[in-house]
């Protein structure tokens, strides 16, 4: 596998769309083809290119062949983590702060006390 092969594989819009489909779930050719107007044969050819570029791996499930993103081919470990950690920590910050500020705001959200109105 090489950067050239990966870039060539990704130059084709159907192949980019296929990658998005198989990034979270392993899918068969039939399942993938349902999402496109092109023939199942054409999908198979695209999958072959993606496999040869090291972007997609095949897993056997009984008699079915399922396609899934190849964790090594899709990213250098460093790139994966360089994307994961900063973006993840930003999401962590938002998640914690939204929950924490809601918890803290509740007392001030109470109606003013009677003595405060006097």
């Amino acid at each position: 596998m090489s950067t050239d092969a990966a870039l060539k594989a990704l130059a084709e819009p159907h192949r980019r769309a296929i990658l998005r489909l198989v990034r979270d779930d392993a899918r068969s050719v039939t399942e993938i083809a349902e999402h496109f107007d092109i023939t199942q044969q054409a999908v198979s050819l695209h999958l072959k290119v993606l496999r040869e570029a090291g972007l997609v791996a095949v897993r056997r499930d009984g008699t079915r062949r399922l396609y899934l993103i190849d964790p090594d081919g899709m990213s250098s470990v460093q790139e994966f983590l360089a994307e994961l950690w900063p973006a993840g920590l930003d999401r962590l910050k938002r998640a914690v702060e939204s929950e924490w500020s809601v918890a803290n705001w509740q007392p001030t959200a109470l109606p003013p006390t009677r003595s405060g109105l006097e």
């Binding site: 993103i69 994966f80 950690w85 910050k93």
Partner: protein, 147 residues
């Protein structure tokens, strides 16, 4: 041979006690990392999170609530970083008005082993965002913070 550790940090406006569960509870961790998690936050317990199709697998090595965690980290199916191959140390330090969360990811494979790759998850994330009709915003790929 391993690469130098990856380090980053973020400051959060909440005390360490409020941040810590986001590393130990499956419902909380998926709010910021991954789509599906199975966590058993005891020493030796399972740390399993699926992130954008990458099955991250490891174990909790050390827990010191709410200050520090050490977790082993690898990717199922990966030859470069098999499950348990690397270590993530998370430190929660109390700072004025909040917590500094520092991440140090150690024992990563050397860069040369993987230099053919060009950051596809980043690329795909932007593709997905673009595909849903939202503006993916400026490309901040080079803007990785270190701490």
């Amino acid at each position: 041979m391993t690469a130098k550790p990856y380090r980053t940090s973020v400051d959060i406006a909440a005390p360490p006690e409020a941040v810590y569960p986001y590393f130990t509870h499956a419902d909380a961790i998926v709010a910021w990392m991954g789509d599906y998690a199975v966590l058993d936050a005891v020493p030796g317990g399972i740390f399993s999170v699926d992130i954008n199709g990458v099955p991250v697998r490891g174990r909790y090595l050390e827990l010191d609530p709410p200050h520090r965690l050490r977790i082993s980290w690898g990717h199922a199916g990966s030859d470069l970083l098999p499950p348990g191959a690397s270590t993530v140390e998370i430190t929660l330090t109390a700072i004025p008005h909040g917590t500094r969360v520092s991440v140090e990811h150690r024992d990563l494979p050397p860069q040369e082993a993987t230099k053919h790759a060009v950051g596809w998850p980043h690329f795909l994330t932007r593709l997905t965002v673009a595909a849903t009709g939202r503006d993916p915003g400026p490309d901040t790929f080079a803007g990785t913070r270190t701490g």
